[in-house]
């Protein structure tokens, strides 16, 4: 019993180590926010403008919080130069369509500011993976067309991926 378990683990480990393509590809990172339920109250972006400049975009800002990314040891011992990307899935809860969805962010300086759309990724960090966690202040802004909302609440799930340079 213990033999077969060890053999299975060994096989997984071998498969992992023997796949250069996988080690080069982006690997998803565990992430946590300092806020338990990051929430933005949407506002009509152009409600106060004349009709020629109006649209149905809603925008909401999430108050600044800490974003902590857990870096696997193979990037940190020894420290390797890495790129970390923030990407958005194609789908989002509460949205019938994600074509208008836009997530942008400002950081405390360690992460790069950026903007990303559904199905795309943007560079969040480039540099040494010096420790087991990478932390910075981040404030997100969500922008989406009200016409694309199928529910009154939209939930999006950023994905953080790392790749060694």
């Amino acid at each position: 019993m213990s033999h077969s378990a060890a053999a299975m683990l060994l096989a997984i480990g071998l498969a992992c180590l023997s796949s250069p393509a996988q080690s080069q590809a982006a690997e998803r990172l565990a992430a946590s926010f300092s806020a338990s339920r990051p929430l933005a109250q949407g506002e009509w972006e152009t409600a106060l403008l004349p009709s020629a400049a109006r649209n149905d975009m809603e925008v909401g800002r999430i108050p600044a919080m800490q974003l902590r990314l857990a870096l696997p040891p193979r990037y940190t011992t020894p420290p390797r130069r890495v790129r970390i990307y923030l990407s958005l899935p194609q789908m989002a809860l509460g949205l019938a369509r994600t074509g208008s969805l836009e997530l942008s962010w400002q950081s405390g300086g360690r992460f790069l500011p950026g903007v990303v759309r559904a199905g795309q990724r943007a560079l969040l960090y480039e540099g040494l993976a010096a420790g087991p966690t990478l932390t910075d202040t981040i404030s997100f802004q969500i922008r989406v067309s009200g016409s694309d909302m199928s529910l009154e609440r939209v939930e999006i799930e950023p994905i953080y991926e790392i790749e060694a340079l």
Binding site: A6, M8, L9, L10, A11, I12, G13, L14, C16, L17, R28, L29, A30, A31, S32, F33, R37, P38, L39, A40, Q41, G42, E43, W44, A47, L48, L49, P50, S51, R54, N55, D56, E58, G60, I62, P72, P73, L93, L103, F140, I142, V144, S145, G146, S147, M149, L151, E152, R153, V154, E155, I156, E157, P158
Partner: protein, 189 residues
């Protein structure tokens, strides 16, 4: 041994995938109605009628500049948005309740008429302009100047119309500068 620990790491990562989820939420904006009368930025536009070189009391009217008026509905969407009706009325400001005044002299609001032109609305908007031409009542609010309804579930629809105001010039009044203020109100039924 190192291989084993690598294997454990892979399993741990796979097992914790659901815990990776860190969602960001946006609560949709509430219903909002918009109104623009004339210039943006809080400016109170003035329509001037100048009779310094034109006879008064001849019933020959004089028109002023056109004033754009827009009303808009920002809606949370869904089928209910198509049922919402937004309407616009106008009524004299409290200080101008009796009409346009110059000291103790008064020109009644019924002397001011309007016509409507250049009506533009967004796709999926039912617009009712009515009446297309009219006068302010002596007191109180007008009938509905514009009503707007999104005909299909939508989050945003609007109508833009240009109002041209005229002074009927039906009475001889004492010389002076007569001023009055009209307040526009948009409401959602």
């Amino acid at each position: 041994m190192r291989l084993l620990s690598a294997g454990f790491a892979v399993i741990a990562a796979l097992a914790s995938q659901p815990a990776l989820a860190q969602t960001l939420a946006l609560v949709g904006a509430g219903n909002q109605i918009g109104l623009l009368v004339g210039s943006t930025g809080g400016t109170v536009d003035t329509v001037n009628f100048n009779f310094s070189s034109q006879p008064v009391g001849t019933a020959v009217p004089q028109s002023g500049a056109a004033i754009p008026i827009e009303i808009a509905l920002f809606s949370k969407g869904g089928a209910a948005s198509a049922a919402r009706v937004v309407s616009l009325t106008a009524s004299p400001a409290v200080a101008s309740a009796s009409g346009l005044t110059s000291g103790a002299n008064v020109v009644p609001w019924t002397e001011i008429s309007w016509t409507v032109a250049s009506i533009v609305s967004s796709v999926g908007t039912t617009t009712v302009i009515g009446p297309a031409a009219g006068s302010f009542p002596a007191t109180g609010p007008t009938t509905t100047l514009i009503s707007l309804q999104c005909t299909t579930p939508s989050t945003y629809c609007y109508v833009h119309a240009d109002y041209t105001f005229s002074y009927k010039n039906t009475n001889v009044v004492p010389a002076g500068t007569y001023t009055g203020v009209i307040v526009y109100t948009v409401s959602m039924l």
